[in-house]
Symmetry: C2
Subunit: 129 residues, 2 copies
DNA sequence: CTGGACCTTCCAGTGCAGGGGAAGGTCAAG
DNA sequence: CTTGACCTTCCCCTGCACTGGAAGGTCCAG
C-alpha cells in the first residue's frame, strides 16, 4: 500500500509517516518505479505499536529503542517492563509536583478571593501573588 | 544598578533580563552614556513579582497581562484572582489526566511484570504494550 | 489531453522560556 | 598599557512531535 493508505489505515498523516521514517521508527520504505513509498502489513503492526507506546506517554526515542531491540531479533519484553516502570515513577513524581503546585495556587487564590482592590499599595505589583 | 547586579539580586541571568525586556515584561531600561542598562529598585520588585508568578506556573504572557494592568494604573487584584482560578482549573484537569494515564501505564506494567519472554510471538513487536 | 488526486523532496515554523556564543565596546585596577 | 570583568547587539540552538507550504513528478478517469 502507498503512504496515504497507510496513514488512513493507522489514523495518522503522511507527514507523520515520513517524519517517523526520518526519525528511525520506520524502516526506509520500498519504492515503486516512480519513487512512491510502498508498505506491507508489517508497517501497520509497527505503527499500531508506536501508537500504543504514545498512548502510554512513551517518547518516540523510547519507542524506537524498543523497536531496535525487536529489530535485532530479541524479545523486548524486559526492556518494555523497565521502560514502563521508569515511566510510572516519572508520572508519580510529576503528579506529586503538580499537586504541590496546586496547593500553592489554591492558597494564593483563597487569599485573593475576598481581597479589596482599594487597599492595594502602589509599591508592589500585587500583594496577592 | 547594572544588568549583572540586577541578575544577581533577583537570582536570574543577564540573558533572561534582556529576554524579558524583549518580551515586554520589563520596561526598556535607561542607559548610561556608554549604553549600559541602568536599573532602579522598582526593577527588583517587578522581577520578584515575575518570579512569584512563574512559581505559580503562570506563563510569561499571563504575567505580562497583570503587569500591563498595573502599568495602566489599575490594581490588578481582580485580574490576578481570575488568572489563579483559571490556573487552578487547568491544574485539576492536568492532574486528572495524569492520574488516568498513570492507571493505564500501571496496568500495562503489571501485565508485563510476570511475563515470559519466550512466549512472545514474532508477529507483533511486544504483547505487553 | 487535461484535471485532480496523489506522491516526492526540501525548507521553515509551531510553543515555551530562555541559553550559547561571536564580535566588539567600556571601565577600573595593576 | 594591558588585562580581565563587564557590557552591547546579533543570530542561532535547545526539546518534542509534528505541521505547513512550495515546487515539481505520477497516475488515472473522463
Amino acid at each position: 500500500m502507498r503512504i496515504g493508505e497507510l496513514a488512513a489505515a493507522t489514523g495518522t498523516t503522511t507527514k507523520t509517516l515520513r517524519f517517523y521514517e526520518d526519525a528511525g521508527l520506520l524502516h526506509p520504505a520500498g519504492r515503486t518505479p516512480a519513487g512512491y513509498r510502498e508498505y506491507g502489513q508489517d508497517a501497520v503492526a509497527r505503527l499500531d505499536f508506536i501508537r500504543r507506546g504514545r498512548a502510554a506517554s512513551l517518547t518516540l526515542a523510547q519507542i524506537r529503542e524498543v523497536l531496535d531491540v525487536r529489530d535485532q531479533g530479541h524479545a523486548p519484553c524486559r526492556h518494555v517492563e523497565d521502560l514502563l516502570a521508569t515511566r510510572l515513577r516519572a508520572l508519580d513524581a510529576q503528579i506529586a509536583d503538580l499537586q504541590e503546585l496546586r496547593a500553592t495556587v489554591a492558597q494564593l487564590h483563597d487569599a485573593a478571593r475576598g481581597g479589596d482592590p482599594d487597599t492595594c499599595g502602589a509599591e508592589q505589583v500585587c500583594r496577592y501573588l
